[in-house]
Amino acid sequence: MRYIHTIKHIAIKETLSIFRDRLSLVILLILPPVILVIFGYALRFDPEDVNFAVLDRDNTPESMEFIAHLDNSPSFRFDAYLEREEEILPSLTYGKQKVVVVIPEGFSLSLLNRETAPDIFIDATDPMASGSIGYNLQQLLHQQMEDHLKKHGIQSNRPSFNVSFLFNPDLKPEVIPIPGLIMIVFILISALMLSLSMHREKEKGTSRMLMLTPAGISEVIAGKVVPFLVICLFHITTIWLLSGWLFNIHVAGSDAMFFLMCLLFILNFIAYGLLISAFIRTELELLLACWFFLFVPNMFFSGFLFPISTMSPLIQPFAELIPGTSFMETYRGVVLRGTSLTDHWAELINILLQTTVACILAIWGLKRNYLRKT
Amino acid sequence: MNVIYTDRLSKHFGSLKAVDQVSISVRQGEIMGLLGANGAGKTTLIKMLCGMLPPTEGTGAVAGYDIVGQATSIRHRIGYMNQSVSLLENLRVSENIEFYGKIYGMNKREIAARWEELEDLFKMGAHRHKLASELSSGWRQMLAFVIAVFHNPKTLFLDEPTSGLDPLSRFEMWEQIYRTAYQGTTIIMSTHYLSEAWYCDRLIMMENGRVTAEGSPEHLNEISGKQGLGQLFLMQQK
């Protein structure tokens, strides 16, 4: 009873100090939904209105039709005509164009072979974008060719496919950045903010004051964690609401599973936040530790920016262990594929193990270091 | 001759009147003590006189320069010791001093000569090569004092220079303060210690940003009915 009582009062103290600092209030309450909304809309991975130039050696109605077809698509925007081949490289190097389409003499949608097919020169410095551009161009060419052949009663030899996109039939682009942004929000609040608060207490010397009271280290930790946990729970709700309302991403599985999943990962990041604050000495070290041990691995190796399957075979086993990877996989499962948490038992065990180990080490470290002078 | 004077000097922070209508004057070579409880306005007054904070109302001058329009000129001619004893922690004692000497335009020869002059006086020779972070609190305060006087300012502002020191260290600090004043430097210092008030030539008592009493320690003692400065101080607080 006394234990709960102590935790309650430490939690109240922590809440008051959060709410009386305007900047931390902005970061804790307003920034997460702002990150989700702004970057959920801003971070897209499919290029649109890509400027292209044309070197048309054919100059027939068919070639004009092809150019118009490209220009009318949302992916491309006609920018310029080129006169000579020598203009191609400068156009892509210095100009505004990312693509140059060279239509050969004798271009014909009825008979496309190596000689009559257009040559597409793409600025491939950004391989992700250039891959999309190449794919979109091929699709447009095929589409126009199929239409042309149908109009003339000719059957294409190309096999046709019925393609169904499972779990995201409209290929909604928001599903790419949203889970990553949620992960960033969780790291920001539950790890970074909490560890800053712990460190600040140590620096000011108030942690020593607390330690000299009947409150033990576990009560102090619990009391400090509770307000951040409540704020995170608040944000899980806003994320759930905003995802559905703004981005039309509704939980395919159970909403309770979604909340439980988020809670588990928040606890994991809280454990890491405590672990970092237990061993660092200065705020700069804390910031850099959070950056290099939390943000960087979870952003780059979790499947948020680059799929795990594209990573080096040496790195993949480590990437699978990163909490962010488990979060991304579980999120996609629960929210998009409608799985339950038990279908992700490997990820859950990974997270629970890491959380437990991090908590034990954090408590040990805090008991050892929290009383020390900074 | 008055080295420092103020005329209804005030500093407001929103609705808080940190310094309220203070009019004082300090003569050359005097040791002026500012006595007051925490939050009385001593540090704010000192900061305004140093040209660090612009006043909200009133005027003032230090060493003949206006504290509002000629703050830069004032800073060339004063020395200041911070309440929080701010040193460059990762620099050695000699490096801290050398840095401040250079800021005031002293060349290497002048710095070396001045250091030779002060080294024995302040007994800092043994600590010359220590990092500031390695010094005890007494020596840190002594170093801060040396930094404040190194460039031979004619006016010195000391914000609680003996705060936190043991009695022996406080005695040694006052020795240095007297020695500096004897050389003609005007000193304005704030203090909490009533016993130190007797070491000053004149005292200003402050409460809630206002001057509540002013005069020599003996004069103030008379006002209190010879009950002591402490009694007068408490009476002023009430």
């Binding site: 809309y41 991975f45 410095t125 594209t310 990573m311 | -």
Partner: protein, 379 residues
């Protein structure tokens, strides 16, 4: 000049005596550049599933081609569509090919048989497109190989007229192998420069502010602008040193060289330090302690980095998001870095970006100076 020299010397002594900071400053960029690129090898291998209702040599040839293709890691056979979909749901399979019955019998005949069915896991739309393109391309090839003689036969008798479909000839310039590594190495280099440039000066000022050292300087004859300029100059030297170390590291480990003029790149790096140091300084002026400054920097840096095209392309961003680039020095630095390092472009072709980048630095510095003059106690 003497005072400036004194300030630079003081900053140097403080840095070299702070071993932890020194290690962090040089080790962190090297570790980012040394580890993160391993995430970018682009060894895409697909886990596929086949539901074969045809069970003929042609349908088995599709499976054989997928098994032998380097693009596919695993090809599993499922008895039913439901079992295959379950596998996709659990994340074990990414694409399912359903071959309808009578596929071989109706191949290249008229009327055509049921098309092949591809079900693709689309929780990551970009990946889904790639899966579709890879699988469709492979199947097209398999289809063509299997039916070439049929095409010739049709072409001889003349009806129904069929054509061999072909694709456009794609040429990837500047990066023929579509390697992610160099592109993102440049991004990581700029990321390192952004963080170091911003945090270095900021941390320096804020820690002096907290300890009261700035207040002490305020009482001296030291010109505060000179002091900040001195600190900024020193921070710039450190930042340049870290950039050189990072570039050397990239060259030694990844073989990445600057295709353009290295001196021009260093000049641009110096120009970039100006807005970053100014931003760090502005954050230091606006805040009172380290915690507040960390909050503010997180907010600003996260926004600038995510909107800078470091991880997405400008063409994929919505119009309103693209407009933010005009105020984002990180965007300009990324653009210039890609032009110099990856394309070998000369300075005259990116002078506009360089000017804009410097202009953002001027704006940030001006803002910081204005705030400092208005509220000198912030210093």
């Amino acid at each position: 000049m003497k005072i400036l020299a004194a300030i630079l010397w003081k900053e140097f002594l403080q840095l070299v005596r702070n071993k932890e900071l020194l290690i962090l400053l040089f080790a962190c960029p090297v570790s980012i550049l040394g580890i993160v690129p391993f995430a970018l090898e682009n060894n895409t291998r697909i886990n596929a599933g086949i539901v074969d209702y045809d069970r003929t040599p042609v349908s088995r040839s599709y499976a054989a081609m997928m098994v032998h293709s380097p693009e596919f890691a695993e090809v599993r056979h499922f008895p039913t569509i439901e079992s295959a979909e379950r596998s996709v749901k659990l994340g074990q399979t990414k694409v399912i090919l359903v071959i309808p019955p009578d596929h071989e019998r109706k191949l290249n005949r008229f009327p055509p048989g049921d098309p092949l069915n591809l079900a693709i896991e689309a929780t990551h739309p970009k990946k889904a497109q790639h899966l579709l393109a890879t699988t469709a391309s492979l199947l097209t090839e398999a289809h063509r190989a299997g039916s070439q003689h049929e095409v010739e036969a049709y072409q001889k008798v003349g009806s129904p007229h069929k054509v061999e479909a072909h694709q456009a000839n794609i040429h990837n310039l500047f990066n023929p192998e579509a390697s992610y590594q160099y592109y993102y190495l440049v991004s990581l280099l700029v990321l390192v420069q952004t963080i170091i440039g911003c945090c270095l000066l900021n941390h320096n000022i804020i820690s002096e502010k907290e300890k009261g050292v700035l207040a002490q300087f305020n009482s001296t004859s030291l010109n505060r602008y000179l002091y900040i300029a001195g600190k900024g100059l020193f921070a710039m030297f450190v930042y340049l040193a870290i950039t050189l170390v990072s570039l050397t590291f990239c060259r030694l480990v990844y073989g990445m060289t600057v295709q353009g003029n290295p001196e021009e790149y260093l000049l641009v790096t110096i120009l970039f330090s100006f807005p970053m140091l100014s931003l760090g300084y502005l954050a230091a002026v606006l805040t009172k302690n380290q915690v507040q400054t960390i909050y503010l920097l997180i907010l600003l840096l996260l926004t600038m980095i995510l909107m800078s095209t470091m991880f997405t392309s400008l063409d994929s961003m919505p119009e309103w998001a693209r407009l933010t680039r005009f105020f984002n020095p990180v965007y300009y630095m990324l653009d210039i870095s890609r032009l110099i390092i990856l394309k070998g472009v000369q300075m005259k072709h990116f002078i506009t970006q360089a000017v804009m980048m410097t202009a953002t630095g001027l704006m940030l510095s001006a803002a910081a100076v204005l705030i400092m003059r208005k509220s000198p106690e912030r210093w």
